[in-house]
């Protein structure tokens, strides 16, 4: 047997650099040495799988928690997880977290003076189906201030963590909303050098996803690294 094909390298400017001067938290945390390229071996081509995990009922619905309904504008977020060749990535786990509609995380260290919502934990999990599709319901997260610079505010965003099929495809990212005036001012969003790459982090409003009289709909696809070459037939 031969080693399966590795994964494609990152695109220059398609991801943020480690050192982004406008994002102050990078100053003492970004490594100074360039990372050493690693030829892909079984260690990078394999990775953890979670399709055997049982999700709890309601893991895909953040709008109900502790016996009540969360406050805020209900939204559906749906899309697919694909590789760079457009192939669906089925049965992969997506972990989700976000602030509530007032811009406050249900987290002890979030000191923002905005109300907590006893019926919103801001945590979800989904696993993509046979076609790489996922869907969950939540409320639109609020913007919130942070201390990066004077009058700094994070745009509305949802955090996502994905594994894909391998150690090499691991991705943590954030999804933003169309038309948000804070995007132009956000050092984290703007840390991605390439403008078209950045804009891929913005969801698309879709009236077809919208549930009449209930929730607005947004589409957001994830594209994980593709294979460097066609993998051998199994």
């Amino acid at each position: 047997m031969n080693l399966p094909a590795g994964y494609r390298r990152e695109i220059p400017d398609g991801h943020p650099p480690h050192n982004a001067p406008a994002y102050v938290s990078t100053h003492k945390r970004a490594p100074r040495h360039a990372p050493i390229p690693l030829e892909h071996t079984l260690s990078e081509i394999t990775g953890p799988r979670f399709e055997r995990d049982q999700l709890a009922p309601g893991d895909d619905d953040l709008t109900h928690f502790d016996g009540g309904q969360a406050l805020g504008e209900r939204i559906i977020v749906t899309g697919r997880v694909l590789d760079q060749d457009g192939r669906a990535i089925p049965h992969t786990m997506i972990e989700i977290w976000q602030a509530n509609a007032a811009g406050r995380y249900a987290h002890g260290e979030d000191q923002h003076d905005a109300p907590l919502d006893p019926h919103f934990a801001g945590i979800g999990r989904v696993i993509t189906d046979d076609h790489g599709a996922y869907r969950f319901m939540t409320v639109k997260p609020g913007a919130y201030p942070w201390r990066n610079h004077r009058n700094a505010w994070r745009p509305n965003h949802i955090h996502f963590s994905l594994f894909g099929p391998s150690f090499a495809t691991r991705l943590i990212t954030q999804m933003y909303f169309p038309g948000d005036p804070l995007l132009a001012l956000d050092p984290i969003f703007n840390s991605v050098p390439d403008r078209s790459a950045r804009e891929r982090l913005i969801a698309t409003f879709d009236i077809e996803v919208t549930i009449p009289d209930y929730a607005l709909g947004y589409r957001f696809d994830f594209v994980l690294r593709g294979r460097a070459a066609t993998p051998p037939l199994s």
Partner: protein
């Protein structure tokens, strides 16, 4: 069709309720085969200050050097009691601690075996994308012929090898920046 990748963004400071579940720092059960080892360490920033909001993930082969994955092709012994994934947040002093087993050697490029190692991902506020490193084991004869270790300048190579604290306990600190910066890899 060739689609561009979705860019990475920082995990931020508020991931713990969503991503951290108790028990994920232990990769073993009573039935797992292999030599038990605890791996503990600290994540430190460029001022040697503790990073109290980092997340560390481990991915490793089992005691025979077999990954629990459909693309594993080596003729090795699968262990149904070992999945190979672990996750932990750092505490207020930047500390983490995992309970696992020493992995066996796995195939490397060509015909050379890789020395036993654990693949490590690091996420934190201030890290716009994942950092990747590897934990190697002390007193391991295969370290001398490992292609990855040998590609690193000797002065930096040693920080990829965990140190023995006491029998069964290894220490592996992760220094994000500065004189003792950990070797990070571009996968």
């Amino acid at each position: 069709m060739r689609l561009p990748q979705t860019p990475s963004q920082t995990v931020g400071p508020f991931f713990k309720p969503a991503l951290i579940r108790s028990g994920q720092e232990s990769l073993v059960t009573a039935s797992t085969r292999g030599e038990r080892v605890a791996i503990e360490g600290c994540v430190l920033d460029g001022d040697a200050a503790a990073v109290s909001d980092a997340m560390i993930e481990l991915w490793q082969a089992n005691a025979d050097g077999c990954y629990d994955h459909p693309e594993e092709f080596q003729e090795k012994i699968y262990d149904p009691d070992f999945r190979g994934f672990g996750r932990s947040a750092t505490d207020e002093r930047g500390r983490f601690r995992f309970h696992t087993i020493k992995p066996g050697p796995v195939a490397g490029p060509g015909t050379v075996l890789q020395a036993p190692h654990i693949n490590v991902s690091i996420f934190a506020r201030g890290l716009l994308k994942r950092l990747v490193t590897r934990i190697y084991f002390p007193d391991e004869p295969l370290n001398a012929s490992d292609a990855v270790l040998n590609a690193i300048a000797p002065v930096r190579r040693s920080n990829l090898v965990a140190q023995v604290v006491r029998p069964g306990v290894l220490r592996f600190d992760i220094v994000l920046q500065g004189e003792h910066e950990t070797v990070f890899f571009d996968v």
